[in-house]
């Protein structure tokens, strides 16, 4: 019995911390409609700041807490709202997700840059002070303080939201910011305040949980899933329900930790407690009533132009030739990098299909790649059959993921995929099914029809061929019936439904195809490397992939290839220059924040530049220096080789704004 009481008390403590984090998330989301996926990363970052102030610089704990919670964190929140996510509330969900993913990556980068990995301890508040209840139930002052603070937060939010004008305006702007403006209120001010408070609450939750979770970059960042799971119970708007959700979640997690040993096979799934928030989340999402299809907005996305097969073939062929040249010229260690770039390119192509064309954001592409790699290693069939099986397993997993989240769109879907990534990591990748905690899995290189590609050079060329084939396939899909349907379903689900398209199968198929491509990439990668480890497919990789894909252009195959190269180069650059490793993440994050508003990315800019060179610069030069004209043309057509792999048919229409019309002229 006393055991049960102990677990309950621990559960209440965890729940209280989750409640604080979750209420911050609700506050920011409901006032600005921007879901901050970096909410946990904010908590992580400020836990480090608090450690720095209190431990490294020796500030008294209470002073450090006040400085962080009332000064630094709110200032950061206002900065994020004013500068980084401003006016994203009405943008497509994908855009605000990418921008906040950029913030997440930037914060992790900043944390690793400022505080390189080392053993750090954040002591509990009033460390060592205990309260004994009965004979053997013990709680710490830290836990008591956490619960008290969460009650204080609840009360303060209640007063703010119901007893003050600005708080009332916050709730009003949830319903209708435009109307608030007509009243003379300033939604921007309200939003800034909400972000200041929300950020401060994330920081507080991070600081309170650190003594338990540890001062870790990645684990604390996943606090967002717990907060999100709790907040979902209140549909991201109701604070009381959010508190209920947080408490339920905290208790569930505590009981699972406590009683795991009694569950059959409990020792095999020691990762279970960590994924309780995800399981909780999925249950809440599946049980929530179905949201009706949104009607009433014509949204056309201006995408990067789609190349013709001829051009795609030429550039694809050139790419294969280039890889052959490299295979002769480069050392094996460098060839491994080329192969890795091809892998990332393939995984990124899976995102082009899913996100660029289909409009669904996934934060689990590397998990699918991991499934492919594990399946390929486990089947131990280093031939096309093994590759096909690995692809099919990944595709099946993709379809299975799509089914429970079928009714979800945009934000919910993206977060469900993040939860899924963590679930797979803890319950599959870390267990004996796959990597058994830290063990590597070995895989052999592929042979095709008895021809074995054992040399790294040959294998790299083979991977490049696969990359090109998949790229051409993706282009073929986009140009054909399916591609049109994909884009149509992205533009208007309601219209597709009323034309007779079963959107559920469409979505399942799309996820399966995308996961299959990623799985194929993972399988090839396993063969390339010979061994893989679970860290290769960590959730953070998927976030990097999304940021990279968006920066280089998630709507074009060229963007995917360029993104793949830079995704490969990132860790290389980091190990070459360890002193700025974190800074490179920050740079990437900043890039995602800046470019995130245009999903066509840099690749599309290249197309635009190419068109500009051909249409403006050369005619001008040709006019001025008639003798140069021929030469210039020749150079011009060679120019894209430096940047763009697959050229485009008509780059003229590649404007970057999203055309969004409210065509209700009648209104």
């Amino acid at each position: 019995m006393s055991e049960f009481i102990s677990y309950t008390l621990i559960g209440i403590f965890t729940g209280a911390a989750y409640a604080i984090a979750a209420s911050g998330l609700v506050l920011t989301y409901s006032t600005t409609r921007v879901f901050n996926i970096a909410h946990g990363a904010v908590g992580m970052f400020f836990a480090f700041v608090y450690w720095d102030f209190s431990q490294k610089q020796g500030m008294p704990a209470w002073l450090a807490l006040i400085v962080v919670l009332l000064l630094v964190a709110p200032a950061f929140g206002v900065f994020v709202q004013r500068v980084l996510v401003r006016d994203l509330g009405n943008a497509p969900v994908g855009v605000s997700l990418v921008v906040t993913v950029g913030i997440l990556i930037g914060l992790i980068g900043a944390a690793t840059q400022i505080w390189p990995a080392a053993g750090r301890q954040v002591p509990q508040f009033f460390d060592g002070h205990l309260i004994k209840i009965g004979s053997d139930v013990v709680i710490t002052w830290h836990e008591v303080i956490t619960v008290v603070l969460s009650a204080v937060v609840a009360f303060a939010l209640f007063v703010l939201l119901t007893r003050t004008r600005i708080g009332t305006a916050m709730r009003a702007s949830v319903d209708n910011p435009d109307l608030l403006r007509l009243y003379g209120g300033r939604p921007q001010l309200v939003a800034a305040l909400a972000w200041a408070v929300g950020t401060s609450l994330a920081a507080l939750a991070g600081i309170l949980l650190t003594p338990v979770i540890g001062l870790q970059y990645y684990d604390l960042t996943l606090l967002v899933i717990s907060a999100y799971a709790a907040a979902m119970l209140g549909k991201l708007t109701s604070l009381p329900m959010t508190y209920v959700g947080a408490m339920a979640l905290g208790l569930a997690q505590s009981y699972v930790v406590g009683y795991l040993q009694y569950i059959p096979f409990g020792n095999d799934i020691t990762g279970l407690p960590a994924v309780i928030p995800t399981v909780f989340l999925v249950v809440v999402l599946v049980l929530l009533p179905q949201a009706p299809l949104r009607i009433g907005q014509v949204k056309g996305l201006v995408s990067a132009p789609v190349p013709s097969f001829g051009k795609a073939g030429i550039w694809g062929g050139s790419l294969v030739l280039l890889s052959m040249l490299l295979a002769f010229g480069l050392a094996d260690s460098d060839l491994l990098l080329v192969g890795t770039a091809a892998t990332y390119g393939i995984v990124m192509l899976s995102l082009v299909l899913l996100t660029g064309y289909g409009g669904h954001v996934s934060l689990a592409q590397f998990t699918f790649a991991g499934v492919g790699a594990v399946a390929y290693s486990r089947f131990d069939q280093p031939n096309l059959i093994g590759l096909l099986l690995a692809t099919l397993v990944a595709a099946a997993v993709g379809a299975i993921v799509a089914i429970p989240v079928l009714r979800l769109t945009g934000l919910y879907l993206a977060l469900a995929t993040l939860g899924f990534a963590q679930l797979m990591d803890k319950l599959v990748f870390q267990t004996s099914i796959a990597y058994n905690i830290g063990n590597p899995l070995s895989a052999e290189r592929l042979s095709i029809l008895g021809l074995k590609f054992s040399g790294t050079g040959e294998y790299t060329v083979l991977m490049t061929v696969f990359l090109v084939l998949i790229a051409v396939a993706v282009i073929a899909v986009r140009r054909g019936r399916l591609g049109r349907m994909l884009v149509a379903a992205r533009d208007s689900q309601a219209a597709c439904g009323t034309l007779g398209l079963d959107l559920r199968w469409m979505r399942i198929g799309l996820f399966a195809a995308s996961a299959g491509i990623a799985g194929l990439g993972g399988a090839l990668y396993a063969g390339l490397r010979g061994t893989t480890v679970s860290a290769d497919f960590m959730y953070f990789q998927s976030l990097l992939l999304l940021a990279m894909a968006v920066i280089w252009g998630v709507t074009s195959v060229t963007g995917a290839v360029l993104g793949g190269i830079f995704m490969m180069y990132l860790p290389v650059a980091q190990s070459d220059h360890p002193s700025i490793a974190g800074l490179l993440f920050v740079l990437l994050g900043v890039g995602a924040v800046i470019v995130g508003r245009d999903p066509n990315g840099l690749a599309n800019k290249l197309f635009g530049f190419n068109a500009w060179v051909m249409d403006r610069l050369y005619p001008m030069l040709a006019e001025r220096y008639p003798g140069m004209a021929l030469l210039a043309r020749g150079e011009g057509s060679a120019l894209p080789a430096s940047g763009s792999v697959l050229d485009v048919e008509d780059p003229a229409e590649s404007a970057q704004e999203e055309v969004e019309r409210d065509v209700a002229v009648a209104r």
Binding site: Q297, G300, R484, S492, A494, G497, T498, G500, D662
Partner: protein
Amino acid sequence: MSLLRVDDVVVQFGGVTAVNHASFEVEPGTVTGLIGPNGAGKTTCFNVITGLQAPTSGRVLLDGHDITKAPVHRRARRGIGRTFQRLEAFGSLTVWDNVRTALDIHDGFRGLFKSVDGSADQEVEQLLERVGISEYADERADSVPTGVARLLELARALACDPRLLLLDEPSSGLDEVETVAFGRLLVELAGEGRTVLMVEHDMDLVMTVCEVIHVLDFGSIIAQGSPAQIRVDPVVQRAYLGFTDQTAGGAHAATASDIDDTKVLAP
């Protein structure tokens, strides 16, 4: 037997009742009008019929079959097509691709053969020609004028060969000449045996092409009858204008001439 029967449908959003025990029937092969003042619940009715909105209570019957619970795409397969008041064209696709996509969705696997022998392309061209927007074929759907986008939605719906066609304010955005042509097209469609149910604010159009008109106000049917009956119905006049006495008469000039208003308003 009527093709469509809306039976005692109620739709509530929170505390607001958008449709309040509405019942009406649509006879096959007719052009039927569904009119009513702003906020009367017409579009919500359309959403209930097509399955985009579940009714709080009541039933929808197509050909005597209860389809109240059927999902959106299955109703489309049963022959219900629609256009939207707030446009739902596929903005990133060209006008041509919009119609082609609809055709592909409708044809399913059969469509693969059609694209081989080119008959799908022909069908798209015919449809665009029929609604009169062939010249816009290669433009993106989010860059064409509203009128064209509405006709595009009609062509797209026709690609699925619907028995029952629901048109939500199809003429807004069309000029007078286009509206007349559009009215002729509607009558033609009915002549082919298709049934048209239309929400429309252009009363001239409604009065000319509709055989039967249902008038919706506060979510309930307040009147039904022929155009001639509806026009003089005092209940309808009250719903629309807030008054019943027939003061109307004379001055038709208003719609035609563009008077410099500042002169009139300034004393």
